[in-house]
Symmetry: C2
């Protein structure tokens, strides 16, 4: 197996827990009063770990929120969905982070973030963080943390501890134009600690240090040579593929749905995939659950609203297959 089994300890994700506010009119930017809806529980690590827990995997999050309604809303949701929140710090001085999102006509998104300048940036290694990491079986690294002066050292320390006890590491590069880290961490140093990579778009090539005009298999081979042992590629409406370093290649078609809000689809894909693999499912089964989780998530407004239980995913998959 590529990933440490669920029995070793929870999958841990470290990083931002945000309140998301979505503009309900399509257009560019936020320079005038617009209709919005929010707050929705959000933050890529939070969405990932929520889906991981709902899939039935052991799951814990490490992060920081403010002592405000936005923080309480997030922690209530995560706890209700089965996530261990004992490693979350509640800052008395900083507000819970926020992400304003607006969709453009072309489907691209504009954001206004309060991220590392919010409570999220007040995360520190303390006894509670140490306790949950010391019990961890797997670490999922979100690209948003890479290069951040405060959070990255915590992620790197957690990766070391979890690897030492036989755990595994996955990485979602999650590159986004509005979020540029200090960039003093080289992507290759992160790849070296990664067992499972979950790229989308050009991230496979960025992660391999190659230009995107090379063959996909060339990039995969280079990543395997760097120590990665499994790569699950997210292709949106074109489904997903999995390469394992033993030579196995699996493809799974996407499920057709009416898209309401694509935010969070990739994180739900990852949460379901990691949970499925750690629970011992095959790459084929894991891709199918992950595709279903991503598909169901985009049918709901709000980045975490569509995160589904394994039972709901089973029902969705069965219904889609009987339609064919």
């Amino acid at each position: 197996m590529t990933l440490a089994p669920d029995s070793l300890g929870p999958t841990i994700c470290i990083g931002e827990i945000l309140a998301e506010i979505v503009v309900t009119s399509i257009g560019e930017g936020f320079d005038q009063p617009l209709p919005m809806i929010g707050p929705f529980p959000s933050g890529a690590p939070a969405i990932f770990i929520d889906q991981c827990a709902r899939m039935g995997g052991s799951a814990a999050i490490v992060g920081a929120v403010g002592k405000d309604d936005f923080g309480r809303m997030n922690l209530t949701r995560l706890q209700d969905d089965g996530v261990d929140i004992s490693g979350v710090i509640v800052s008395p001085d900083y507000p819970t982070g926020t992400a304003f999102v607006r969709y453009r006509p072309d489907g691209d998104r504009d954001f206004v973030f309060n991220l590392w300048t919010s409570a999220a940036g007040q995360l520190r290694w303390n006894d509670k963080v140490d306790d949950v990491v010391s019990r961890g079986g797997h670490l999922h690294i979100m690209g948003t943390a890479i290069g951040n002066g405060t959070v990255w050292p915590i992620v790197a320390r957690a990766a070391h501890i979890i690897k030492q006890r036989g755990g595994s590491v996955s990485l979602d590069p999650n590159l986004r134009k509005e979020l540029n880290g200090d960039a003093d961490v080289k992507i290759m140093d992160v790849i070296k600690m990664t067992d499972l990579l979950l790229p989308s778009g050009d991230e496979l090539y960025h992660a391999a240090g190659l230009s995107s005009d090379v063959n996909e298999k060339t990039a995969v081979a280079k990543l395997f040579a760097s120590g990665v042992s499994e790569i699950a590629i997210k292709r949106g409406e074109n489904g997903s593929s999995c390469y394992v370093s033993d030579g196995t290649i699996t493809h799974a078609s996407a499920f057709g749905v009416t898209e309401v809000d694509p935010t969070g689809a990739g994180d739900c894909f990852g949460g379901a995939y990691v949970a499925a693999r750690r629970l011992g499912l095959t790459t084929d089964e894991a891709l199918t659950y992950a595709n279903a989780a991503g598909a169901l998530n985009v049918t709901q407004q709000g980045p975490m609203e569509g995160a589904a239980t394994r039972e709901q995913l089973d029902g969705f998959i069965a219904a889609k297959r009987s339609d064919q």
Copy 2:
């Protein structure tokens, strides 16, 4: 005259410039997805100075916004309305501050602020701030700045410079439960530098260091003894009153309007009042303009949307008087 004439230099207000997001459903708190509208230009100092400029007074603001759409929206509005924004810092690292507001059934409000932890808290005394303050004729102090470790020293320094060159100072105590300063500044030390006080509710008594069961005139007399020379009391739908230390007492009735959004009414009252007095109008004229500015502002959704020009205020006052 209590206040330095407009010709001495602009009225300056120092402090937060915010993007405000208003929940459009009545209720308590922000713990679930709610319909909202925003961003609106906001921040008590910004609302005050915008109304001051629209009334025809020379006006400048000193503050800090982020390099984001929320900051650009605010600066565009302020500049379009005639406010000198040369003393505004644009932070590359911190987002523009935000205020989420929701009205309760009883008319009270819940807030989630990102205020001094936003760009607003990154204000520093620099050459541009020095330049605008050195030209200032009057400083309006917002209570939100009192006791803030970063902003209060800048306000105090500006008060000293402006007083030295013959300028005057006004104070809106603007007390609010969600915003507690470090409280190491005593209200009496602020009163000592104040020429014009603009209290509402119990603020007159707090400012005088008295309990609110004493007679209003007792509180006024104590404040006059402390160096204040004019007090304009905001009474909302009960109008307003002005006490001058020469013994003049003026009352002005409120204008009846249909209230849509009360946020910003007190700041618009203040902006119109200070501008009117510095332009040489009588306390009676100033109270009338200030009541009209407060009334017009609550007819529009958004804290600064109802800020009206002197011409618009004249038209509103004339229309209301012809209705009687």
